[in-house]
């Protein structure tokens, strides 16, 4: 480990000692890219901040920063990206465009590893900027999570191409989710999930509030971890324990087992979950009852009913 990190140890709470273990077993020269997608839906955070003042968006971002720093400090070749998913747009907190600008702000006052201090400052600046520019349109109150994930995938793709063919790069996406699922993003979400699966990118999910079916599916399909946290104040601990190790190291650790995912589909007519249904062969829409005309694409169907077996008449017994 580098010399600068001794100072790191002084300011970190106890659980970081596990970091040393990880460094010895990571392979040489392999780049590990972690993209953190943070749900910064202002409506949700504003509401919850008022009801739970001990865990606010600031605390959440602090925990994310701790994890990001830990990830970058583990190996020289590790890379980090942080995306904020807002209800208007999704925004890169790090690396941001401000990086190229001013160099004077990079001097840190507490002797920290420079990369870490630069990262932290940038993230803070960007989030302040985003939140101040929040405008209410009234229509959309849902987090644009699918869009942020798509941006993350594009970023990973770009970095993989920049790094070149000889260099191995392993990437994963960590989603920290606060607000509820938006059903309208279903198609985009599924596309993102399958694209990530094709590229061998893990999607992990750390859910703060209510369970999300879409993220459960994402984690199941790509091979990542899904965890709903019982205590939001201990977010940093959960992030470091469960989500910091990469997929190779996870096989060596005892982590929460994968939850059972409900893959049942909902019918298009009533939006209720069904186990057995009818699928239109033309438009692939799912129905719970048979109807001779598909309501989505108006194709007519014929179905053969099973033959009715007539009961045989019993011969009357002849009197002796």
């Amino acid at each position: 480990m580098h010399g600068e990190n001794t100072q790191l140890h002084a300011e970190r709470p106890q659980p970081i000692c596990r970091m040393v273990f990880y460094t010895f077993i990571s392979s040489e020269g392999e780049i590990s890219l972690l993209v953190v997608v943070v749900d910064v839906n202002p409506i949700w955070w504003g509401q919850h901040a008022q009801s739970e003042p001990e865990f606010t968006l600031s605390k959440c971002l602090d925990a994310v920063m701790v994890m990001g720093n830990a990830h970058m400090a583990m190996t020289r070749t590790n890379q980090l990206a942080v995306i904020a998913a807002h209800c208007q747009d999704s925004h890169f907190l790090y690396p941001s465009k401000r990086l190229k600008g001013n160099d004077d702000t990079s001097s840190s006052r507490d002797g920290k590893y420079e990369l870490l201090s630069v990262t932290n400052n940038l993230i803070a600046e960007e989030i302040r900027d985003i939140m101040s520019k929040t405008e209410l349109t009234g229509n959309s109150t849902d987090t644009l999570l699918a869009g942020s994930l798509a941006k993350a995938l594009c970023y990973i793709n770009r970095i993989s191409k920049e790094v070149g063919v000889a260099q191995e790069i392993k990437s994963r996406i960590l989603v920290i989710k606060a607000a509820d699922d938006c059903a309208l993003q279903y198609m985009n979400f599924m596309n993102v999930i399958f694209a990530a699966q094709k590229q061998n990118i893990l999607i992990d999910a750390c859910v703060l509030d209510s369970d999300s079916g879409l993220l459960q599916q994402a984690c199941d399909i790509t091979g990542g971890l899904y965890l709903k946290i019982p205590q939001k104040v201990a977010l940093a601990q959960y992030l470091l324990w469960v989500f910091l190790p990469d997929s190779e190291q996870r096989s060596l650790l005892v982590l929460p087992p994968p939850a059972h995912v409900d893959y049942r589909a909902a019918c298009f007519c009533h939006r209720t979950l069904i186990e057995i249904g009818y699928v239109c062969s033309v438009c692939l829409s799912i129905f719970c009852n048979f109807s001779p005309i598909c309501t989505t694409c108006e194709t007519a169907f014929k179905i053969q009913l099973p033959q009715m077996v007539k009961p045989k008449k019993k011969k009357p017994k002849l009197p002796a």
Partner: protein, 550 residues
């Protein structure tokens, strides 16, 4: 010793077996060998036990005969008599060849198959041991469903045998060997004879006419090889040769073949010509001679060889395309590729048309005749926006709420400064660690997954055997339903008693055993459940039967 009523067919002295001298006796129903000087037979096999005999090749000094039995073991006899070993050996071999086919029994074959199956599949063997040896079910029931496949498979294989073609070089393969004294020795096998007959039906005809009335087989073949018909040049056609007629027929056939031409109208053979540069490399003005007389001797012999080659190839191809086992009536053969058949081809004009069409049309450029499909015409495409996701209760927030929240968060984040030293309190950290450790709130399922590590492997193996045996019995039981015949009624009752017996003799001891080892897990619950389902089904069936009878 041999019983007096046994008829001894052949006695061969000085036959060694296992390095011991003795005598070989071939009786009417068995073959036996006794050592020299002793009265008893140490080796005796009845012909029905013998699967096949193997002989040592001709060239070897040791003259041996090996008998392979159905059970796989083999006995070897070495004919050690210096002077007569070969003769004895041949006599024994011939006799065995005649006697063995009489005694072959099919029943032994089945036993062999059963043994082979048991040896090859250890699971089957274990099942056999569990069920039949411990007398839960009888051996016939065990083999009832399994052997049916064997006999069916064999006959199907026989039907699909491919026909063996003719090697183009079969005549060359005969390869005469010099006898040492100016003679040639031709080695003819049955295969070569068959090839000759198939390719040259004329020769077959001659064979039929002359053998065995006029000539022996050996003489026929000797004459065949001696005749000029066989030799390359074939110039002189002496009339005393029986094969000269064949040569004339062949010539006729070749001529008709040439006049027939090639079937493919696109191929123009006539444009091919042997253009050799004569003396002077084409410059000198030597007149091209086309008459037969001016041909040199060498040229005409070349022509003869080429003609023979062409004819031979044509005959081989014709024989290959002819169907097998056609009765030897040349006139009935309808193949028009054979130069010797008299068939006129009616098919030339349409064939040319077909070939031309093939050449100018491309299949994938044609209009496709795909089955009719339904065009997609979406009326309610907004359904795909949410997809098959269930409706979840939305939490409605008033617009005032929204405005308040946003303002609050804006205010909070405007003064945001990362404070990384106060991220986590140790109390929160330790409670999180406790939740994540095995046994904690989030790790409940992990403990349950280690069951296969808690149960020892012998118990697991025994459980597997139990499942296989129970599955077999239950399969027999359930295939009896619906019970239509009296045989099935009997079988279903028998199977039920078998299941009960299985439960008592196998399942209960196993359960007691695992209880003794204090294994709290319920390993046999599922097996009991399956057996109970079978019993209840049987009970229902029985009550229904009673009701029907009354």
């Amino acid at each position: 010793m041999a019983s007096l009523s046994e008829e001894v067919l052949l006695v061969v002295k000085k036959v060694r077996q296992k390095k011991q001298d003795g005598t070989l006796y071939l009786m009417a129903e068995r073959i036996a060998w006794g050592p020299e000087g002793k009265d008893r037979f140490t080796v005796s096999h009845s012909y029905s036990d013998i699967r096949c005999q193997k002989i040592s090749p001709d060239g070897k000094a040791k003259v041996q005969l090996q008998l392979v039995l159905h059970t796989g073991e083999s006995t070897t006899f070495h004919f050690a008599n210096e002077s007569t070993s070969r003769k004895d050996w041949e006599a024994a071999k011939e006799l065995l060849q005649q006697l063995l086919p009489k005694f072959k029994k099919k029943a032994n074959k089945e036993l062999e198959e059963k043994n082979k199956m048991l040896q090859e599949d250890p699971v089957l063997f274990q099942l056999y041991k569990d069920l039949v040896v411990s007398q839960v079910i009888s051996a016939e029931e065990f083999w009832a469903n399994r052997l049916g496949g064997i006999n069916n498979g064999e006959s199907a294989a026989c039907e699909n045998k491919q026909e063996v073609g003719i090697s183009g070089a079969f005549l060359a393969d005969i390869r005469p060997q010099t006898d040492g004294c100016n003679g040639l020795r031709y080695n003819l096998t049955a295969d070569i004879i068959e090839s000759i007959f198939r390719t040259y039906p004329a020769v077959k005809q001659k064979y039929k006419e002359n053998v065995p009335h006029n000539l022996t087989e050996k003489e026929f073949w000797t004459r065949f090889f001696q005749s000029h018909y066989f030799h390359r040049d074939r110039i002189s056609t002496g009339t005393q040769d029986i094969f000269s007629e064949c040569a004339r027929q062949d010539e006729k056939g070749l001529k008709s073949l040439v006049t027939q031409g090639v079937k493919n109208p696109m191929v123009d053979l006539l444009s091919l010509e042997d253009k050799t540069l004569d003396e002077g490399y084409g410059i000198s003005s030597a007149l091209p001679s086309t008459s037969h007389a001016s041909r040199t001797v060498k040229e005409s012999s070349n022509f003869a060889i080429i003609k023979r080659f062409n004819h031979h190839s044509a005959m081989v191809l014709a024989a290959g395309s002819r169907k097998r086992d056609v009765p030897a009536d040349q006139a009935s053969e309808t193949s028009s590729t054979d130069g010797n058949s008299r068939d006129s081809d009616f098919f030339q004009p349409p064939l040319k048309k077909v070939k031309l069409q093939e050449a100018i049309e491309y299949e994938d450029l044609q209009q496709e005749n795909r089955p009719k499909t339904v065009a997609l015409n979406l009326k309610k495409s907004d359904r795909y926006a949410h997809g098959p996701v269930p409706l979840q209760s939305q939490q409605y927030t008033t617009s005032q709420d929204i405005i308040n929240s946003v303002n609050y968060i804006k205010h909070e984040m405007s003064n945001y400064k990362p404070n990384l030293t106060q991220v986590l309190s140790s109390a929160a950290a330790s409670s999180a660690i406790a939740a994540l450790s095995p046994g904690g709130v989030l790790m409940q399922q992990v403990a349950q997954q280690a069951i296969n590590q808690m149960v020892p492997t012998e118990i697991q193996a025994e459980l597997k055997h139990l499942y296989v045996a129970a599955g077999e019995l239950l399969r027999h039981f359930w295939t009896c339903f619906p019970v239509n015949t009296a045989f099935l009624e009997e079988k279903v009752t028998k199977m039920k008693s078998n299941l009960e017996r299985f439960q008592i003799t196998k399942l209960r001891p196993f359960q007691e055993k695992i209880q003794r080892q204090y294994l709290s897990t319920n390993l046999t619950g599922h097996l009991e459940c399956m057996l109970q389902a079978a019993y209840s089904k049987f009970h229902i069936w029985q009550t229904r039967r009673m009701m029907r009878k009354t």
